[in-house]
């Protein structure tokens, strides 16, 4: 696959887009604390916490952008509805967008691009998801019958429409999380990738263990005091197991890849993310807008790159697209892995992180698939997900991007304040459909 080349836009100089701050609600395991809350409830809460933190009541922002992966059709204008239900000015425009698990990050990319171009001075990237309130649709058969009946002009025609119904049509259709083109779940796909790259069970459990211990420490340090607002009595991510151990993780039975053969199934409930409810929001703007509003600036949203891979024909792993995007992002900005202080690699599964790292260290893969001269390089493990990631926090699909951006921005701001030197963070989020979004932050 040839590397895509792109250069910054010529002509009028681009403005800096900066991360001012973020807010999320604690993430909750599906069916628990937020069982009775809708996507709109979750996202409105995240937005309200952000408004309160930054005193944005009655403010007209450039745009609020984001969405949900599992979404009711009635929520077609979800983000706009949340803006109208918030303390922001109703004159703040909004739109919904969706790129599976990369929704939150892609929303930030969309807004920062507008900010850089001068089309907006401020904006909020948002994302929400709830498994507890997942849309359950009627079957295609019943749906067709209902539509036909609604168009029918006579009672006879209406009855004819329903006469086509078969008992099986009455079965509700749950939202699919399997890949439509392969019929495999994400976990099964990743199990194949994991096996192909020879990732061990121990290495995966180690990633999970570090995720929990890092997240627990981060909570205890008060790092989230200005990043999270409690919701419905939940004050911390309830998937977090501060007392977990490698021994405990080692006792869990594999849940994915059981058909791969003896010893090949290594992915457990402990080293895979659980289904989670939650929402996040990130405040973005120009430096000038932040200064006018007496707001701090955490980081510059430098650049972003997305990628897609051919997983359908088995050429690449479903969740390996970020491995393709990152070298292009680094090259465009004249950087190498060594220039990055913090790596935020979304832990869809522990092995997602490990296969991505393995791919960058593999000369053949880097040459044949990434179009590089040699291996991209090795990442220092102590720079990866230093404050925990999705394995411990949970992963409400569209909300994860916002969680990561806010954490990464605060990390680089803290590091720069400590050292007096610029600090950089690289964000990598894999997504269903063989997609990946990546971004680069630098201390402001």
């Amino acid at each position: 696959m040839a590397a895509r080349s792109s250069t910054p836009a010529k002509g009028s100089p681009l403005r800096d887009a900066v991360v001012i701050g973020g807010n999320r609600i604690p993430f909750a395991r599906a069916g628990k604390a937020y069982a009775d809350a809708s996507n709109q409830d979750l996202l409105t809460a995240a937005l309200e916490g952000l408004v309160a933190r930054f005193g944005l009541q009655g403010e007209v922002l450039g745009e609020v952008v984001g969405g949900a992966v599992l979404k009711h059709s009635r929520d077609f204008n979800l983000v706009r509805e949340c803006v109208l239900g918030s303390s922001l000015s109703p004159a703040t425009p909004a739109y919904d967008m969706q790129q599976a698990c990369a929704t939150g990050l892609e929303a930030a990319i969309a807004i920062t691009n507008k900010i850089k171009l001068g089309q907006a001075d401020s904006g909020v990237a948002v994302g929400t998801d709830t498994i507890s309130d997942a849309p359950i649709a009627v079957s295609d058969g019943l749906r067709r019958a209902l539509l036909e009946a609604s168009h029918a002009k006579t009672l006879q025609a209406r009855l004819r429409a329903f006469a086509k119904l078969r008992p099986a049509d009455l079965k509700p259709a749950a939202p699919g999380i399997d890949e439509p083109r392969t019929g495999l779940s994400m976990g099964e796909h990743q199990a194949v990738t994991t096996a192909r790259w020879g990732i061990t069970r121990e290495a995966q459990d180690e990633i999970a263990y570090r995720s929990h211990t890092n997240l627990a420490r981060t909570w205890d340090e008060g790092f989230f005091d200005d990043l999270v607002t409690p919701f419905r009595g939940l004050t911390r991510d309830d998937n977090l197991r501060p007392d977990t151990s490698l021994e405990k993780l080692g006792t869990l039975k594999p849940v994915f890849g059981k058909s791969l053969g003896p010893g090949e199934a290594t992915m457990t409930a402990g080293n895979s993310t659980p289904l989670t409810d939650g929402a996040s929001a990130v405040l973005l703007g120009t430096r000038e807008w932040a200064a006018e509003h007496d707001l701090p600036v955490l980081a510059r949203f430098v650049d972003a790159e997305t990628a897609g891979v051919d997983f359908v024909h088995g050429r690449d792993g479903l969740l390996l697209a970020p491995a393709h995007a990152v070298p292009r992002l680094l090259a465009r900005n004249g950087l190498t892995l060594a220039d990055i202080d913090f790596f935020e690699i979304h832990e869809a599964f522990a092995s997602t992180v490990l296969t991505t790292l393995a791919a960058w260290e593999d000369a053949d893969y880097c040459r044949d698939e990434l179009g590089l001269d040699g291996p991209l390089g090795t990442v220092d493990r102590d720079k990866i997900n230093v404050n925990g990631s999705s394995l411990a926090t949970g992963h409400p699909f569209a909300a994860t991007g916002g969680r990561i951006i806010a954490t990464a921005a605060k990390l680089v701001a803290q590091r720069a304040a400590e050292t007096g030197k610029p600090a950089r963070a690289l964000i990598s989020v894999c997504a269903a459909g063989g997609l990946g979004a990546t971004a680069l932050l630098e201390s402001a």
Binding site: E48, A52, R53, F224, D226, V228, P230, R232, D294
Partner: protein, 476 residues
């Protein structure tokens, strides 16, 4: 949190039954509404001869506020009532027979010995019978001072016992409170006027039987409607424990008075905190006040986000009730840490900034409690901290004075909140009724007192603890 009994005895069948059976009938208290008249009727201004100059000055001011003021300046007690009676010699001047007094202001600044009080006091009995529901009695007298001659000291102290007794006699939501002028503070001092206006208004609904002492202090002040409507205009205030209850009410009241409010509470209370901050158009700062750097962080937030800091309200507090015989270290230490040590540590940071000349005119208001005055069974820890607040308030006031600042405390009695709603039914009813107004106060009653003490108008009031307790039957 609703006091069902009070609602029941104030209308329809409940009112009739309570009257017939002679049950207590707590009044529905008048509370502040923007644009509503200051008092519920005309003001009767009473003074003895020696206090007449001060009374005239106050009368002028009150007329300027649009109040209908009727003067009754009496030369001596015989001038007022015939021997052996306490009725008036002549019919009431100007106020029609059916009209009720909205307030009676008694000026006693000229007293030189106890016998002098009779003139003004004996002019009151008839007027009190015609005090409107929700009416006010306010005395203005001179604060006792070191070096007062024995007779002078007796007269000045006498006002204290007189006023507190009178407050217990008033009914139908009427209250009696006093203003004490200390040092060279005169009747026309801005803070005297601010105190008078506060005590006359619905803002002091649950303040009863209390005194405010006014000391001479510079107060930049223009007596205009704008001053009274938005006394905190352009000011920045921090309220700790703002997520709910009294703290949320304080944040809302300060915002109503024009302040930009920084709402502070522990991270775990963030949901309510965000609600408060968004309701008042302020900012939410999730911060544990017991953090060692809480003061610096509050100061930094206020400065960086709002450009200044004028008011700090220490409202955050916790209860861990237990008889001392059963007290454990956690219960004692957590209450001390939150209720008093945190306030002290934050004040140290504020005082350090004031020393650097960065916080001139800072006003600190701390939440004490009647438990810190009268004590309460099961609350040795809480009472210790709340009395501690009263103590450090006086000490802090002395330190802040050099920087034009002030520190005061507000001591709530029984207030209807989530916290008191958890008290079992019978003790709750007893606690509720054990004050002159026979009911619990609302969070807004505490908030009004805090807002009054937080305003620059109250510059001459410092180092004091104002009780908001409906004249709780225990303690002063």
């Amino acid at each position: 949190m609703t006091d069902t009994y009070t609602l029941f005895v104030n209308k329809g069948l409940g009112k009739t039954v309570a009257k017939k059976l002679g049950l207590p009938r707590p009044a529905l208290l008048r509370r502040y509404k923007s644009g509503a008249p200051l008092t519920v009727g005309p003001v009767l201004l009473v003074a003895d001869a020696a206090s007449t100059p001060d009374a005239r000055a106050l009368g002028e001011v009150m007329r300027g506020w649009g109040l209908d003021v009727v003067e009754r300046f009496v030369a001596s007690s015989t001038d007022r009532a015939p021997e052996g009676t306490n009725g008036p010699r002549t019919p009431e001047p100007s106020a029609p027979a059916e009209q009720r007094w909205g307030a009676i202001v008694v000026v006693l600044t000229g007293l030189s010995r106890p016998a002098d009080a009779a003139a003004a006091v004996l002019a009151l009995p008839d007027a009190l019978k015609r005090l409107a529901p929700g009416g006010r009695v306010v005395t203005v007298s001179t604060a006792p001072a070191d070096g007062d001659a024995p007779a002078l000291a007796a007269a000045r102290h006498g006002v204290d016992g007189f006023l507190r007794s009178l407050a217990k006699e008033l009914r139908f939501g009427a209250t009696a409170n006093g203003i004490l002028l200390a040092g060279d503070a005169g009747a026309e001092h801005p803070s005297t006027l601010a105190a008078l206006r506060f005590l006359l208004s619905a803002k002091s609904a649950f303040v009863d039987g209390q005194f405010l002492t006014v000391s001479p202090a510079d107060a930049a002040f223009v007596d205009s409607p704008r001053t009274w409507e938005k006394p905190l205009d352009g000011r920045v205030a921090v309220v700790t424990g703002a997520a709910r209850g009294i703290g949320a009410a304080i944040a809302k009241t300060l915002a109503r008075d024009g302040a930009t409010v920084v709402c502070v509470d522990v991270p775990a209370a963030g949901e309510g905190l965000a609600r408060t901050a968004n309701a008042v158009g302020g900012t939410a700062l999730q911060l544990d006040v017991t953090a060692p750097d809480a003061g610096e962080r509050i100061l930094a937030h206020a400065r960086e986000r709002h450009g200044r800091l004028d008011v700090v309200v220490h409202n955050a507090g916790i209860l861990r009730d237990k008889l001392l015989a059963n007290m454990d270290a956690t219960r004692w230490e957590s209450v001390v840490a939150v209720n008093v040590e945190a306030q002290l540590r934050i004040n140290e940071a504020l005082l350090a900034a004031a020393e650097r000349g960065e916080l001139d005119g800072l006003r600190i208001v701390s939440l004490a409690s009647t438990s810190g005055i009268a004590g309460n069974r099961g609350q040795t820890n809480y009472g210790f901290t709340k009395a501690g607040v009263i103590g450090h308030t006086t000490a802090t006031a002395a330190l802040l004075a050099a920087h034009g600042g002030a520190a005061n405390a507000v001591a709530p009695g029984f207030i209807e909140t989530d916290m008191t709603a958890h008290i079992p039914f019978v003790p709750r009813q007893v606690a509720r009724r054990a004050n002159s107004l026979q009911q619990g106060g609302q969070p807004v009653d505490v908030a009004e007192a805090v807002a009054f003490l937080a305003s620059p108008l109250a510059a001459g009031i410092t180092g004091q603890t104002l009780r908001v307790c409906g004249q709780n039957l225990v303690g002063r």
